[in-house]
Amino acid sequence: MTHDDTLLRRLAADFAASRLALAGLALLAAIAAAAILAPWLAPQNPYDLAELDLAASRLPPGARSADGTTFWLGTDGQGRDMLSAILYGLRISIGVGVAATLLALAIGAAVGLVAAWAGGRTESVVMRVVDLQLSFPAILIALVLLAVLGPGVGKIVFALVAAQWAYYARTVRGAALAERRKEYVDAAVVLALPRARILFGHLLPNVLPPLVVVATVQVANAIALEATLSFLGLGLPVTEPSLGLLIANGYAYLLSGKYWISFFPGVALATTIVAVNLVGDRLRDALNPRLAQ
């Protein structure tokens, strides 16, 4: 049967069949846009200490500043506009989550592919390392690393990659082992194509798509992990607050009724994670041939 349906188009149709997922996608797009456009959208640059007015600290939502700007979501302990801080915080949280996931994916995929192809002792050694790493909770690994390295954007990305690459390595190896048995790989071998070409040109494109879906969901995990670490004070420096750090900053005031300093960043974080998960889950279902009609 000839049909011009590309895989992508079918996937899009399957995806669109769920309204919840479409809503998630719209929400995610809005959040991403807000994060990217933060410098233009935000009323204030929260990193610019000159713009901060300590006198305007801990104002409730809707309060006005001395110069007449409205703090729609209130201000924090340093007099920062919460709305601006959340927009900039989203930028950092999403940026760190995506960067860490992409790097972990690249490293894990390469390791998994090579292990699957090499087989034998190489594979055993690599996979035992992976097993060892996976037997520790990701947060523990990241905590220990950050405790040693200290805070910093680059360092937290490194810690997140270190905590997550093994997961991809295992998934890719499994997928590659299944894919390797297919006849098109034999065909490439009989055509005497170079090994690297078979691995990265033939195998990888077939292993990658389901993995990208896994990665989508993992972005949410990475964001949550980063927020947790920052909340514990191990992640990012105070000068570049991510959502987790914002929540931590307001934590002390929660009981004194100044809920907004923690509450709004918390809502932003939860919404982002839910939106990513909605999209990721639907993508996974659409790609799963057993669930597809």
Binding site: M1, T2, H3, A13
Partner: protein
């Protein structure tokens, strides 16, 4: 004249998909009498399997039987509700699939599955059902059936599993058996064994058998009558000898000529040009016309069934012999 065991009249089964209506079966009629074997032949996508599934009421959405009658011993199966159909399946009608694991449950012993099939349809004691199960296994040529009753499907080879599936299908002595490519996945010598057993079981029990296959050579050896399907319709139907030796429909001719064993070595096989149309986009009129060297303007209309002197039915405006 006795009533035919199975009589299918103008069966239409369509699939309502996102990409439009697929007319998988579009006006199929045939009948099979007790103790006779009909070979239903066609290539992939011809609608032969859907025909079999339709008869048993096993078509799943988006598929639906939109028209026609299916008469089993005079009773219209389409008039039955789901419950009535279920009572009939495994009892008066049975199906054998290409993959025996469609019938077999991997976590139950063979003996349990056979006995359950008996007790689902008849009130007999556990012990009597077990005896019947043992006899059924012996009938399909399984050695030491007693020991085998306690075995699980995975302990059997592919050929043995198919035999067990056949034993389950035949245990309640159905009036009609529909077999969908049951030997396609098997080796030649194992296929020979299964064909031999099916043949003798049908003859002995007087069941009517519809054998669905793509393999003309199997049909030649097994069937009394053959129906050739193309694009959802039966294009030619009749006694095996007449249809295979003197095909009337150009498609049948093409199929017969495509089988390599008939022709001298090295000589090019006469092939049918082109490929079968997608069942989602069938051309109007005769679906074969774009591949047919006899096609004319007349073929833009749909050919009706012509009955011939030797008891054949052909749907063609330009048959290879005057009917």
């Amino acid at each position: 004249m006795t009533v035919a065991t199975l009589r299918v009249e103008n069966l239409r089964t369509h699939f309502f998909t996102r990409h439009g209506v697929v007319k998988a079966v579009d006006g199929v009629s045939f009948e099979v009498r007790a103790g006779r074997i009909l070979g239903l032949v066609g290539e992939s996508g011809s609608g032969k399997s859907v025909t079999g599934f339709s008869i048993l009421g096993l078509v799943d959405p988006p598929g639906r039987i939109v028209d026609g009658r299916i008469l089993l011993e005079g009773r219209d199966l389409r008039a039955l509700d789901a419950e009535g159909l279920r009572a009939l399946r495994g009892d008066r009608v049975a199906m054998v699939f290409q993959d025996p694991m469609m019938t077999l449950n991997p976590v139950l012993t063979i003996g349990t599955q056979l006995a359950e099939t008996v007790r689902a349809h008849r009130r007999v004691s556990r012990a009597a059902a077990r005896d019947e199960a043992r006899a059924a296994l012996a009938r399909v040529g399984i050695a030491s059936p007693d020991a085998r009753l306690a075995a699980y499907p995975h302990q059997f080879s592919g050929g043995m599993r198919q035999r067990v599936a056949i034993a389950i299908a035949l245990i309640n002595r159905p009036a009609l058996v529909i077999a969908d490519e049951p030997t396609t996945a098997l080796d030649v010598t194992i296929q020979g064994q299964i064909l031999a057993e099916m043949q003798s079981l049908v003859r002995a029990s007087g069941a009517a058998l519809v054998w669905i296959t793509h393999d003309l050579a199997v049909v030649a050896g097994l069937a009394d009558e053959v129906a050739v399907m193309y694009a959802g319709r039966i294009v030619e139907r009749g006694p095996v000898d007449a249809v295979l030796d003197r095909p009337l429909h150009p498609y049948t001719r093409g199929l017969v000529d495509s089988v390599p064993s008939r022709r001298a070595r090295g000589e090019p096989l006469r092939q049918i040009p082109g490929m079968a149309p997608s069942p989602a986009a069938l051309p109007a009129g005769c679906a074969f016309r774009s591949r047919c060297d006899r096609a004319s303007a007349a073929c833009l209309a749909e050919p009706g069934a012509t009955l011939t002197r030797d008891g054949r039915e052909v749907r063609c405006f330009h048959p290879l012999e005057a009917p």
